[in-house]
Symmetry: C2
């Protein structure tokens, strides 16, 4: 029996399904970690769509533009989002139609189309980003402050362990 393919299942599927007590603790931790991440991610996507009336790709475009804070070329935006230029163009068209982004030509090279948030776009993004943060807070509300602190510290240990093994095992692969 293998459970390492759990990531291929539906996000709502519990990654821990099929885990057994004879499994090594490391595997059980890995699958529980995946279960937590997927559940949180899935719920955040759902709320974004249903409550904030936006989709994750739209939210991501707005977030990139907000983070950048200045007009960015379509090519760079596409790279940052790791999404094809065609998809970015479609998203930007719709965001422009909604008045959330504005397009212009690069002053340095008029062949490049630049894009930035409008005032309405900034306000809209600030609102949903704030809700997004509140949702994260809310979804962890069953843990006490002490538990949160302990979890944060243990995850640091896990992260350091993974990082140590990445550089040890595949030294030539670290960019």
């Amino acid at each position: 029996m293998d459970r390492s393919n759990a990531r291929t299942n539906d996000m709502r599927t519990d990654c821990e399904f099929g885990v057994c007590h004879s499994d090594r603790m490391e595997l059980r931790v890995w699958l529980r970690l995946l279960a937590c991440t997927n559940l949180l991610d899935h719920e955040l996507r759902q709320r974004l769509t249903r409550t904030a009336g936006t989709t994750l790709p739209r939210f991501d475009v707005l977030a990139q533009l907000d983070r950048h804070g200045a007009p960015v070329s379509m090519g760079e935006l596409s790279q940052r989002l790791m999404v094809s230029k065609g998809n970015v163009t479609g998203l930007i068209d719709r965001l422009a139609r909604d008045g959330l982004v504005a397009r212009s030509r690069s002053p340095e090279d008029r062949r490049f189309q630049m894009v930035e948030l409008t005032a309405a776009g900034k306000a809209f993004f600030a609102k949903i980003a704030d809700e997004h943060r509140q949702w994260v807070t809310e979804m962890m509300d069953r843990l006490s402050p002490d538990e949160m602190t302990a979890l944060y510290a243990l995850l640091a240990g896990l992260k350091n362990s993974v990082l140590a093994n990445i550089s040890e095992q595949t030294p030539e692969k670290v960019e």
Copy 2:
């Protein structure tokens, strides 16, 4: 500043980049959780490709067939993997060429093409699944058994907290 778009960055990018001490603990835990999951996932993919000489989609197909244990239709396989039928057909073509899967017609309805692991496919999958488990174990080797137990318990608390909030907040949305 918003950091909730961290997931759009390259997997190697540290999700915790940009986090600050004034951020709520919940956000910091969420970003660290993402960082751990992404680092582990990225490294597992790398090793699968480089060491086991297979890609994640191939591994996922083999894992599904191994889990199923009996011939499965191409349509069902496509659904289980959440991948288009065209992509599954391409993957299966190559796996069949390598002698790892065998195709047949459904005895109930000859219009349906069925697919299953060959003996060589089973052996190959068992080997890489075993390596995959060893990699997970290895990457957590800096944590003591007590730390692993504590992390496992705290992640249970987190999972329960998220589950409790999903059903509370969006009772109509739980399938």
